[in-house]
Amino acid sequence: MSKSIKDMGWDELVPGAALFSFEQTVNYNIAEVQPEDRTYAETNSKNAYVGDWRVIKPVWNSEICIDCQNCWIFCPDSSIIARDKEMKGVDYDHCKGCGICVSVCPTNPKSLLMFNETEKNEDALAKWPEKKKKGESNE
């Protein structure tokens, strides 16, 4: 596919909205290759933005995070980016804003919190809550 999907008309789409995994034939050791190093087809879901119904978003605070990978395991949309067992951030193109990552985060205070979609990440980080005392709610 030479054209970017954004420039394509209805008549150029694959019948039946089928998505191909990769441009080339599959390398079965793909698990060894980081997603950013793979060649996805234009129509792959990796390239399709589906995060547009989110009204609240998770913001990640790298200062407190202990890289436990809980959020990565639990995210139902594979939207937590982790490399070599290190938390790297949130993929906002695909994150639906469900908040599951926040609820499973074990640190005190949490290293992921939900903020309004319109809030800037740096503003959100500036108002991060203090460590909670024993018995106080962790939310």
Binding site: G9, W10, G16, A17, V26, S45, A48
Partner: protein
């Protein structure tokens, strides 16, 4: 094919269900996923017994509902197989969600739909309520009026469905009991001729091609949904030409000629009815009778229900003065679908015949030749008067005082 050969006579006595089953056998379907429902049960029952006796190679999958039957077909079709199923009425109603999946995912599936009334009240007999339910589901829809035609349409459905320009599922309709359970002479093609006519199945983007994995039925929101639907609609509209081509090719191998709009007596007809299914054959007899009386009657039946042959219908009706559109489905608070579509077809032409909407034959009630003659005589009054002599819509054949609606 390593299945056992079935010896067929030049002329077989088959009902519509057996005609369907034989067409599925000859098409060498890979997967039939089915759940029984009257009157289409015998289609898959016959097929399953051919399977059990070694006459077919494919899989017969028994599922727990019609929703699962169509889901099984969509899955097997996406995987890269030739698939088919059969249903009726409530079963179709339960399948309907998956019908949209099949057409949206552009998976060729052949559905033998044996038309039957929708409950309540529960009724196993024939009318077109389920056929109408498939109207906007994005399937090509063909209608047959006899077991011979059911056999022919079901065979041709595979070729149309799998055509590279179409890649859409196809419904092969027939009237419940009237066609499905009436045994008549059917002239089958030989297995070889039938299979070669359809050809080998060439899957497109098969899910089980491991060198090129693919996801079917993905999510598209406002950004791409419209474009995908546009592509689907374009393919459905373009399928009309493919249907014509397939009809022509079929004529070469079988000698039987089909048109996307069938008509009889329309050369000089002043009064005409438009109908679907077996009523067409009864109307032919009524037309002959009326021509002797000096009434210039004709009958038109869209063989292709989807895509709707709007222009061809208008051309066939261009000289008629009074037309009755016959809908065999409970109207649900408006005029029947056929009336709407035919009115739409005629509105932009200079021919503007007087148009009636007759709701008839619900739940399997007979439409006799005498009743059809009466309908033509009423139409003749309209034609003579140059205007409607009654209301637009009438429920004809219902007990009790006349029930009619929409007075001009």
């Amino acid at each position: 094919m390593n299945s056992k050969q079935m010896e067929l006579n030049t002329v077989e006595v088959w009902d519509g269900n057996m005609a369907n089953a034989q067409a599925l056998r000859q098409a060498a379907v890979d997967v039939v996923a089915a759940y029984p429902i009257t009157p289409s049960t015998a289609t898959v029952e016959n097929y399953a017994s051919m399977h059990a006796n070694g006459y077919v190679d494919g899989e017969v999958i028994m599922v727990e509902s019609e929703h699962a039957a169509m889901s099984g077909c969509v899955g097997a079709g996406a995987a890269g197989g030739r698939v088919a199923t059969a249903t009726s009425s409530q079963g179709l109603a339960l399948m309907i969600e998956v019908l949209y999946q099949a057409s949206g995912m552009r998976i060729p599936v052949v559905l033998c739909l044996v038309n039957r009334a929708l409950a309540a009240p529960l009724n196993v007999n024939g009318d077109h309520s389920d056929l109408y339910l498939t109207r906007d589901s994005g399937w090509v829809s063909l209608d047959s009026f006899s077991p011979q035609e059911a056999y022919d349409m079901t065979l041709m459905s595979f070729k149309i469905s799998e055509h590279e320009k179409v890649r859409l599922p196809v419904i092969s309709n027939q009237d419940g009991f009237m066609t499905s359970h009436t045994a008549q002479n059917v002239r089958p093609l030989s297995d070889e001729v039938a299979y070669n006519f359809i050809g080998d199945y060439k899957p497109l983007n098969a899910m089980l091609d491991f060198s090129k994995p693919v996801t079917h039925g993905v999510q598209t929101e406002h950004d791409w949904h419209f474009e995908h639907k546009a592509k689907q609609h374009a393919a459905l509209m373009a399928s009309k030409e493919v249907v014509k081509e397939v009809f022509e090719e079929f004529e070469k191998v079988s000698g039987r000629k089909y048109n996307i709009v069938e008509s009889y007596g329309m050369e000089d007809a002043e009064v005409a009815i438009v109908c679907l299914g077996t009523t067409y054959e009864s109307a032919i007899l009524a037309v002959d009778k009326l021509k002797e009386e000096g009434i210039k009657a004709g009958v038109v039946a869209p063989r292709l229900f989807r895509p709707f042959p709007l222009v061809e219908i208008a051309q066939t009706l261009q000289n008629a003065k009074a037309v009755a559109c016959m809908d065999r489905s409970a109207p649900g608070g408006t005029v029947g679908a056929l009336y709407n579509e035919v009115a739409g077809a005629l509105f932009n032409t200079s021919a503007r015949p007087v148009l009636r909407n007759l709701i008839y034959g619900l739940g399997g009630r007979d439409m006799t030749i005498n009743e059809l003659c009466d309908i033509y005589r009423d139409l003749n009054k309209d034609a003579k008067a140059g205007k409607l002599t009654g209301k637009i819509q009438k429920l004809t054949g219902v007990r009790g005082p006349e029930l009619s609606f929409y007075e001009l």
